[in-house]
């Protein structure tokens, strides 16, 4: 057996040994952690915070496009059918007041004036 063969043999044995040991120590490590070291709420939150999530781009884009479509088409229809149109949304019963600087909602204007007086 030459020198290089000996070295190869040694590495192969070490590798197997490592694998075995690793399996043992991993399980043990986990158990030890669980028993001896309960993570704080903050740590758990931080773990979640840093957790990786994987998305498939196809379905995500499709969902986004659908959402956009619903907003663009559906919302105006919803608005038109159930609510006042923009020009009708102002309360037309508000009392207006004509002053030297403009025309205001009377109640709001009086609140402003009183605020400045105080």
């Amino acid at each position: 057996m030459n020198e290089s063969n000996q070295e190869a043999e040694r590495r192969a044995v070490k590798h197997r040994l490592d694998e075995d040991l690793n399996e043992i120590s991993f399980r043990g490590h986990d158990e030890v952690l669980k028993r001896a070291f309960r993570p704080s709420r903050r740590q758990r939150l931080s773990a979640w915070w840093n957790k990786d999530v994987e998305f498939s781009l196809g379905p995500v884009s499709a969902a986004f496009a659908l959402l956009l479509l619903i907003t663009a088409v559906g919302l105006p229809i919803y608005e038109a059918s159930t609510r006042f149109s923009p020009e009708e949304r102002y309360d037309r019963s508000i009392q207006l007041i004509e002053t030297r600087s403009g025309i205001y909602d009377k109640a709001f204007y009086e609140r402003m004036v009183n605020k400045h007086e105080n």
């Binding site: 999530v53 038109a80 009708e88 037309r92 019963s93 025309i103 205001y104 909602d105 402003m112």
Partner: protein, 776 residues
């Protein structure tokens, strides 16, 4: 393809922005959404009530809740108007708060109004329902449904001539709007002999509309005949004088002057025939905000100048919606792209006014000058786009800030495209709503940057009264008519000063203003007001405020004697002596007031007092002293006099018989005066200098006058009449013309006025000279 993200990137990148945007959208229009929630509930209740009812009960509820308030009103009523009148008449007397139908959307109204038109009895409410239904359809761009609504009502209304008549008017009005002029004419003609015309109020409306239809259809002479016959028939039936409009219009006239309107239409038709321009035109355009957003459902009112004047040179300044209760001449709604089109427009001089909703008005304005007219010639399609501009944001001073420094530093947001700005200030009671308060117009000051540095003394010097009483004409003056606060003006440290700013382009067109509707928290986040407290009330001021006139006068006198530089004391003393001289009929005091003011002005020459003295001596034809103060005034101005100052001075030269100099100054004034106030005097002087009548007419064409006239064509028309009159006896006419004009150019105005009163043989010449003499 997959992407890998950490939860934190997902949250920070997507959710947080979404929340921020969402809450901003929720918070910003909080006032409006709070309001709409309340409204939405009330609306739901009202709709439930209306829909649950059956049969006649339902019709009754529709009448009360949907039609009721609108009885007697046109559906073309808007929450807010933009017109060229003075700013303080925008708000209508109409009380929306009492109208339950305000809660309903257009979509809500359609089935209810339809149900009413289909089932209700034939009476005036049916007309009202059909009118409103057609309007709502029009606003939704469903013109044909609108036409059918009227047809449906007509089919059900044949029992009652009055109802039928009103509906025919609505139908004819729609045909006219759609450009079907001949159809409108024959529709109205077909009913000429029916019982409808027995009612003079109805008949005159038929004639008014028919004259317009005939004119638009290319038959001006027939239109003129219709208008003429219509007026005659109305006057005979009602026993009124009608015809020409004289004097001012009684406010709140129940009849709303339909005969006056027909008379004005008749005159406008007659004038257009005289001027030889009778083909009708079309006006189109788009109404947008300056950011490009179209404004849908807005009312565009094209107003012929004959609709704006209610008498000789008297503008109708009532709130807009009170002016045109029925058959406003040319009105349309903008479509969802903001587009509008008005067909069958008579050639003439026009202004456009707008009616919009509160939401459309809030924070925006449609800037239009008082004299901003435009001409539509015959047979044209004129494109005129309209732009609403954001209100100018005022930065300082605001919210009742106390100013105790020597200058008031005003700042506002820059307006793109503005060539210069003007600032106006006024004082009022603490609420900023006083109707009396003085007005300091800085019309002579142009600021090229969005800021102004105004010395406090300029405010203090603003005259609270001009010295324009006239002993010769027996002016009746008493102390009761003066409010001490008005006399103190800006010198009262308790007076709230409000300011506004306007922006103009290089052609002097108003392009933006700070004045307008400010209805939500954002647009009304601050009030442009301040207090001037550079100085306190003096002892004399306090006495004045207590109306202790005599003591105040004596105390001002001793304050001035103690300190010769106390310009406030001497100015107040002069004003009070001037008033007393009239109130107690003591001419001596007027002389004392004048010399006190002259003395103070000599010590500290200033524009305000110089102007006051200049005007005073002008009125009294004291030309030597007038000239002295005019020269000083121009020096103090530090710039060339503008058209207003030039024109006044030209008139003073004319009164002194210095015609040649006057003519040059009138020309200079007219070059930039949008109202062409002095067109008449210039024409008279040019004619005196030998300009032939036909050339004078061309000159008149370039200076349409809008101040004294009822029409910008007045001077042209008078010159046409002069040419006609001259044709009969040129030599005799020329002699009389020369004689009259010679006296005018020599400044012998009173003598000329007396002479033409006695003359009758040349009526056109007399009218011309009379009108020339009216221009002051």
């Amino acid at each position: 393809m997959k992407i890998k993200l950490k939860v934190k990137h997902l949250v920070l990148g997507l959710l947080v922005p979404a929340v921020v945007v969402g809450s901003a959208a929720y918070a910003a229009p909080s006032l409006i959404s709070a309001v709409s929630n309340v409204q939405a509930d009330a609306r739901g209740d009202l709709l439930n009530k209306l829909n649950r009812a059956k049969g006649d009960e339902q019709l009754k509820l529709i009448r009360e809740n949907v039609l009721g308030y609108a009885q007697g009103y046109s559906p073309y009523l808007f929450d807010a108007y933009f017109d060229s009148g003075y700013v303080f008449n925008h708000i209508s007397q109409r009380r929306l708060a009492e109208d339950p139908a305000r809660l309903l959307t257009r979509a809500d109204r359609i089935p209810l109004l339809r149900a009413y038109v289909e089932r209700a009895e034939s009476d005036i409410w049916l007309v009202q329902a059909a009118d409103q239904l057609a309007y709502v359809y029009d606003a939704d761009g469903r013109t044909e449904d609108g036409d059918r609504a009227i047809e449906l009502a007509l089919a059900r209304a044949n029992q009652s001539p009055a109802v039928r008549g009103q509906l025919l008017l609505l139908q004819a009005g729609r045909l006219l709007k759609q450009g079907q002029f001949a159809a409108a004419d024959s529709l109205l003609e077909a009913d000429e002999d029916s019982s409808i015309v027995a009612d003079p109020q109805l008949r005159i409306r038929f004639d008014l509309l028919r004259a317009r239809a005939q004119y638009a259809d290319g038959h001006p002479q027939e239109a003129l005949d219709t208008a003429h016959r219509g007026l005659k028939a109305y006057n005979e039936a009602t026993g009124t004088e009608g015809g020409e409009t004289q004097g001012t219009w009684a406010r709140g006239s129940g009849d709303n002057g339909i005969d006056k309107r027909l008379a004005r239409l008749e005159r406008a038709i007659r004038h257009s025939i005289q001027l030889g321009d009778t083909a009708s035109s079309t006006l189109t355009g788009v109404l947008k905000r300056s950011d490009g957003t179209p404004i849908a459902g807005a009312g565009v009112f094209l107003l012929h100048e004959s609709e704006m004047y209610i008498g000789f040179g008297v503008r109708d300044e009532r709130p807009f919606d009170q002016r045109f209760m029925d058959e406003p001449p040319y009105r349309v709604l903008t479509d969802d792209q903001g587009r509008f089109e008005i067909k069958g427009v008579m050639p003439g001089i026009y202004q456009i006014n707008l009616g919009v909703s509160l939401a459309q008005a809030d924070g925006w304005t449609y800037p239009i000058n008082f004299y901003e007219w435009f001409e539509i010639k015959g047979g044209q399609t004129v494109q005129k786009n309209l732009t609403m501009r954001p209100l100018i944001g005022q930065e300082a001073p605001i919210d009742g800030k106390t100013i105790d420094t020597d200058t008031v530093e005003l700042r506002w947001k820059e307006v793109p495209g503005a060539s210069y700005y003007r600032v106006m200030s006024s004082f009022s009671n603490k609420k900023g709503t006083g109707t009396t308060g003085g007005y300091m117009s800085e019309r002579f000051q142009r600021y090229t940057k969005p800021q102004a540095s105004v010395p406090v003394d300029r405010f203090y010097r603003m005259p609270s009264i001009y010295w324009s009483f006239d002993r010769r004409s027996g002016t009746n003056v008493s102390w009761d008519q003066f409010d001490p606060k008005d006399l103190l003006g800006f010198s009262d440290p308790d007076a709230l000063v409000s300011w506004t700013v306007n922006a103009y382009d290089a052609q002097d067109r108003l392009i933006a203003s700070s004045y307008g509707y400010r209805l939500n928290e954002i647009n009304a986040s601050s009030l442009p007001t301040f207090y001037l407290k550079r100085k306190n009330l003096s002892d004399a001021d306090r006495l004045l405020l207590e109306r202790k006139w005599t003591q105040a006068i004596e105390t001002y006198r001793s304050e001035y004697e103690a300190d010769g530089t106390d310009t406030h004391a001497v100015r107040m003393l002069a004003d009070l002596l001037y008033i007393r001289s009239y109130a107690d009929n003591q001419p001596r005091l007027e002389r004392e007031a004048v010399s006190l003011l002259e003395e103070a002005n000599e010590r500290q020459p200033n524009m305000e007092d110089t102007y006051k003295l200049m005007s005073y001596f002008y009125e009294r034809a004291d030309w030597a002293r007038y000239e002295h103060y005019y020269t000083l005034y121009v020096k103090l101005l530090g710039r060339q006099p503008d058209y207003f100052e030039l024109g006044n001075h030209a008139m003073s030269l004319l009164k002194r018989g210095r015609a040649e100099e006057a003519q040059a100054e009138f020309s200079a004034s007219l070059a930039t005066d949008p109202s062409h106030h002095y067109a008449g005097p210039l024409l008279a002087l040019k004619l005196q200098g030998g300009l032939p009548l036909d050339e004078a007419r061309k000159l008149a064409e370039s200076y349409p006058e809008f101040d004294y006239a009822e029409s910008g064509y007045d001077w042209q028309l008078m010159l046409i009449d002069l040419e006609t009159e001259r044709a009969n006896d040129p030599a005799g006419f020329d002699a009389k013309l020369r004689e009259g004009l010679k006296a005018y150019a020599a400044g012998e105005h009173e003598a000329l006025a007396k002479r033409i009163k006695k003359q009758n043989e040349l009526p056109a010449l007399n009218t011309f000279l009379k009108r020339v003499l009216q221009v002051q």
